[in-house]
Subunit: 219 residues, 2 copies
C-alpha cells in the first residue's frame, strides 16, 4: 500500500485578518503608512486631524478615511481643509472592520498620498479589537475623561503605537492627574510615546508631528 | 383524511430579551425602578451617581450595579458612599447584557431598595442596543464631547427616557453650542427631558432629582 496524501484545508485566518493583510500588502507595495486613530466620542480625534493637516499638510500628503456610525459631519470638516477624505459609515456598528477600510483605501488617489489616517468610530472598546491593516494604532484620550481610563479600557492602550492625551488646554479647569494617567498608560504599554497636546492652542503638536514624520519615513 | 395539526416552535424572543423580561417582572413585583445610565467613557456617569447619592440618598434607598470592562474603581467610589453596589465586569465586552444584570439584581438586598441604577460600560454605541430590563435609559453626554454627538450616535438619544448634558461648569472654557445640542437631541427624541447639570458645582441637580423621584414613584 502506498502512502496517500491527505490535503487539509483550513481557514487559518478570519475574514477580517485577510482583509487587513491585503491592506498591509498594498501599503508596503505603495510605500504608504496608515494610522488607525481610536478614542471616545468627542475626545478630539477630528480636531487633532485638522491641526495635523494645518501644521503638517504642507510637508506630507495626507488622506483621511473617516469612520462614523452616522452622518458625514467629520468628513466635511476635513474636506474643507482640502485633504482627500472618504466617509466610512458603519450603519450602526461600533467599530471599523478591515474590509470596509480596504475598499475605501483602494479608491483613494494613492499615487498622490504619503500617509493615510483612519479615524475610527468613537469608542474605547471594540475598535481596539479589530486590525484594519494599519501601520500603528493611536489611542486618543481627552484629559476631560479622567486619568483612570487606561486602567478601565486597557486593550486599546496596550495595542497603541502612540498615546495622545488631548485637550490639555482645559487642565487648569479639571482635577486631572497627569502623572497618574501616564503611570496607568505604562501599566498597559511599556514603550509607546505619550503626547500631551492641545489641538486648540497648538501646545505639544510639534512632538506629535515629529513622531508622525518617523512613521511616514519623512524625517 | 382528517386535518393534522402542525406544531410550530419558534424562538420568538432572543436570550437577551428573555432575561430583560424576567428583570422587568421582578421589578414590577417588588415595585422597584431601574435606570440604565449610558454615555461615553469619562462623561461623568459615576460623578452623577455620587452627587445623586449625596443629594437624594436620604430620601430614597438607592443601589448601584456598576458595569465596566475592567477594574472595580467605580464600584469602590460608590461603595465609599455607603450605597449597596455590585460590580459587573464584562470581560472585554463593550456593553451590559440582560442576563448579567439580572443575576446581579437578584443578589441585591431588594427589600431595602427603592431605585436601582445600572451604570453601563462607557460607550455611546452598543449599550443602546441592549435592553437590560430597565424602567428607562438615561443618556449622559458631557459638554466637553461637542454638541454634534446626538446626530452621530442617534440610537442612544432615541432610546433615552431622559438626557443629561453634564459638566456644564466647563462651558465657559468650551465652544459648545447648547442650543444646537438640544436641537440635535430633539431630532432623535421629541419628548425626553433634557437636564443641563454639573455634578461638581451642583447646578441643575435638583431638576434631575425631581425627575428621578417621578420615576421612583416617590414624588
Amino acid at each position: 500500500m502506498g502512502t496517500r496524501e491527505i490535503k487539509v484545508y483550513k481557514d487559518l485566518m478570519g475574514a477580517n485578518e485577510k482583509w487587513a493583510a491585503k491592506t498591509r500588502s498594498l501599503l508596503a507595495e505603495r510605500q504608504l503608512s496608515m494610522l488607525n486613530i481610536i478614542g471616545s466620542p468627542g475626545c478630539g480625534k477630528t480636531a487633532l486631524l485638522e491641526k495635523t493637516a494645518e501644521v503638517y499638510g504642507g510637508r506630507v500628503r495626507l488622506a483621511v478615511l473617516e469612520g462614523d456610525v452616522e452622518t458625514t459631519r467629520d468628513a466635511e470638516r476635513l474636506d474643507a481643509l482640502k485633504i482627500p477624505t472618504s466617509q466610512l459609515l458603519t450603519g450602526g456598528a461600533c467599530h471599523l472592520e478591515a474590509k470596509l477600510v480596504h475598499h475605501a483605501l483602494v479608491d483613494l488617489p494613492l499615487e498622490e498620498i504619503d500617509v493615510v489616517i483612519v479615524e475610527n468610530v468613537g469608542n474605547l472598546v471594540c475598535p481596539a479589537e479589530f486590525d484594519v491593516g494599519e501601520t500603528a494604532k493611536v489611542a486618543v484620550l481627552s484629559v476631560t475623561e479622567g486619568e483612570d481610563k487606561p486602567l478601565k479600557y486597557p486593550l486599546l492602550f496596550h495595542e497603541a503605537g502612540a498615546v495622545v492625551l488631548s485637550k490639555t488646554d482645559l487642565m487648569p479647569h479639571l482635577s486631572f492627574d497627569m502623572e497618574s494617567c501616564i503611570d496607568f498608560v505604562r501599566r498597559a504599554n511599556a514603550s509607546a510615546p505619550v503626547f500631551q497636546l492641545s489641538a486648540r492652542s497648538g501646545d505639544g503638536i510639534d512632538a506629535w508631528i515629529d513622531w508622525l514624520s518617523g512613521i511616514a519615513g519623512k524625517e
